[in-house]
């Protein structure tokens, strides 16, 4: 019997600039999460990224592929944060992230993200990994360039399996 899913968990709309946004107490009753970020970005640009379960250790890696309208590129990264997208300038950007098997305890956590910023960085796809098998209960989202401006929305959805 099919099971209705893709459950909206929470949407946060910034009423003022904020350096981070946190989804906490995420229940382990689903299998995947989908995070949607939409809005203006910090002027100085940089990476849209997250930390899972407050882990700020060097336990994250990523591979990204970017097209900016004139060239394409790819890079691999190892860092202390889970990268989703790279923005340039304050123009509106949108980022959609799938966090796979976030509640599983037998595998690392992989994210697949697609981001676009038509007036800035262009379009990109990222695959990122948190090298930890713990279930994810907290996602804190940051921007390398500083505060997210007022009005940016962060929506979190959950999918059963």
């Amino acid at each position: 019997m099919p099971t209705p899913t893709y459950i909206p968990l929470q949407t946060i709309t910034l009423g003022s600039a904020a350096s981070s946004v946190t989804f906490a107490s995420i229940p382990a009753t689903y299998r995947d999460l989908v995070l949607v970020i939409n809005g203006a970005m910090p002027t100085s640009g940089g990476e849209v990224y997250a930390r899972l379960n407050s882990d700020s250790g060097s336990n994250y890696s990523a591979v990204r592929m970017t097209g900016n309208g004139s060239s394409s590129s790819s890079a691999a990264l190892t860092s202390n944060r889970l990268g989703f997208f790279y923005t340039t300038g304050s123009e509106l950007a949108n980022v959609i992230v799938s966090l796979m098997d976030y509640s599983a305890t037998d595998k690392h956590k992989t994210t697949l993200s697609r981001g676009s910023q038509a007036a800035g960085r262009g379009v990109a796809a990222w695959g990122s990994r948190w090298a930890n098998a713990d279930a994810v209960t907290t996602i804190a989202i940051y921007h390398e360039g500083g505060d997210y401006p007022s009005g940016v929305t962060f929506s979190l959805y959950a999918i059963e399996a």
Partner: protein, 182 residues
């Protein structure tokens, strides 16, 4: 604090049945094929969400529809491998080859992941196409955007995900979802 999702799951905010879980299949460690058969025909699109790991060294997953083994498939890919971005295409294939779509590593817990959309799967006036994003980091670095073609107008009633060789490790998981039209 009320856990996230409890209110939404119990309330009327969810459009019930607009996105349904149809089935989930897990790797057994002894089979190189994951199959969804007798797929319901009451949705508009399908989505497959997976995490996968191989028990040998091959890292490709091949997608086959309706068990068709003729040269009726094609694929375009855009690849980022950590140093360059490139594009490839193949035609007249016996399945849609999703290159490097499965992790092959001795690292415990490391898997690849992917999300595949199969559009208008039951429409008998269109050839069936899919699009996918998938990737992995660790043993190798890969992120792909892929489109695939099943050059037939037959409604899709079964899907096979077949490793190029070896088997799906038990940590592998494939879930099939149906998306309704408005």
């Amino acid at each position: 604090m009320i856990p996230l999702g409890i209110l939404a799951a119990a309330g009327g905010a969810v459009a019930v049945g607009s996105y349904d879980l149809i089935a989930t299949a897990n790797g057994t460690g002894s089979s190189g094929t994951i199959t969804f058969s007798s797929i319901l025909q009451n949705y508009e699109h399908l989505q497959i969400r997976y995490t996968a790991k191989n028990s040998s060294t091959a890292v490709d997953i091949n997608v086959r529809m309706n068990g068709a083994t003729g040269s009726v498939y094609a694929r375009h890919s855009l690849l980022g491998n950590g140093s360059t971005a490139s594009s490839t295409a193949v035609t007249s294939q016996t399945s849609i080859p999703m290159v490097d779509s499965m992790a092959s590593s001795t690292t415990t817990g490391l898997t690849s992941a992917g999300v595949i959309d199969i559009l208008d799967y039951k429409n008998t006036s269109k050839n069936t196409t899919l699009r996918a994003i998938y990737g992995q980091t660790g043993n190798i670095n890969r992120v792909f955007l892929t489109s695939g073609l099943y050059n037939a107008t037959t409604a899709v009633t079964s899907l096979d995900f077949i490793t190029a060789s070896g088997n799906f490790a038990t940590v592998s998981r494939f879930s099939l979802y149906g998306i309704r039209s408005a």
